[in-house]
Symmetry: C2
């Protein structure tokens, strides 16, 4: 029945829109709404109704004629499409402020994503814990711990000079997807998926906007 | 001579590409290269040569027939286009791990972007300093300090429930651009530019990629 688009054919912008749509549905559900429409979603949450219909159409027939969408059903199907219907285990390499911030955030360590451990090379940090209790382990134990915990996703929160080697270690440890926060664009490492998040780009994009006002 | 595209007409993806191109030029310059071409940039750095020419064409005529691009000249012009030819002062609201990580990162606190101070409401943090010496000030002093230091950019690194009010305070303090890391999409706050960076979206995008392998 439902046609599943190939993930690599769906743009990052589109998956981000699906994530945002899912949050809107959770809000509606908290208000005990049972049905909604692309028009309501557009008006309430500032989304584009044609874009909603187009994004959803990639994954099958979600709408119900004369009703719009059933909130709970659409939420469940979006969760499945986004792979959020099961728990993903994470390891975080780098127990500096950024690594610890991510480990302690409810969005990185909650029901859907669970942080197994932070890893560092600094002997003063190893053996410690983050504020919410995530253990900081020795980076040399990463392969064993990642395999034993069946971690799928590795977060790189290390300095730029340490990033390539840390990424290679994650791959060796069987990690399937890497989210890299070091300001260096890591190339593809098949079969793993690599996503580079360079926070400076966002700052430079603001600077560009401000420059246009001069 | 040079035609300046209106910033709002240039997509975020395009400004990110210009930022990445600028980094490639810095690498070439460090190698003492004086000229380059869109083909060389494509081959060495994995960029798309047609896209490079298209992106640059928005801002005027950068190329030199038979030569390609002069590295130093193109770098300087890109820096100007991106507004990176002058210093932008930043204030960071929220002195938790994320705020402190950003304050101590060379990319957020260097020559182009300078962090004036971190702000918090927690009396135990106020009066302290980050590892690199950024002072943590009382959030109630934000308007005065932001104005005195001529801060233009405000970073929100506060919990989701504190984000809307903190954003409103930044605007009152004369801040022109906000980079919001709280997992809530803040709407437009004209005349300020607001950019929401929701790190969970990147994680969900990886989850989506992994789901497609099932």
């Amino acid at each position: 029945m439902s046609i599943r688009a190939r993930p690599e054919a769906v743009s990052e912008a589109a998956t981000h829109r699906l994530s945002l749509l899912l949050r809107c549905l959770k809000t509606l559900e908290a208000e005990r709404a049972t049905t909604t429409s692309s028009r309501e979603l557009a008006e309430r949450f500032g989304l584009n109704s044609a874009q909603i219909r187009k994004d959803l159409a990639q994954f099958g027939d979600f709408g119900i004629r004369g009703v719009g969408y059933r909130v709970g059903e659409l939420r469940d199907r979006l969760r499945t499409v986004l792979g959020l219907d099961r728990t993903h285990r994470l390891v975080i390499v780098g127990a500096g402020n950024l690594g610890v911030a991510l480990a302690d955030s409810r969005n990185f360590n909650g029901d859907t994503f669970k942080v197994v451990a932070l890893f560092d090379v600094d002997g003063r940090k190893i053996g410690g814990k983050s504020r919410t209790g995530i253990p900081i382990r020795d980076a040399t134990d990463l392969p064993r711990i990642a395999r034993e915990s069946e971690a799928e996703i590795g977060i790189l929160a290390v300095p730029v000079e340490a990033a390539p080697e840390a990424a290679a270690r994650l791959i060796e440890a069987g990690i399937q997807a890497i989210l890299n926060f070091a300001p260096i664009a890591l190339g593809p490492m098949p079969p793993a998926v690599v996503k580079n998040v360079d926070l400076t780009l966002f700052l430079e994009s603001l600077s560009f906007q401000l420059a246009g006002r001069g």
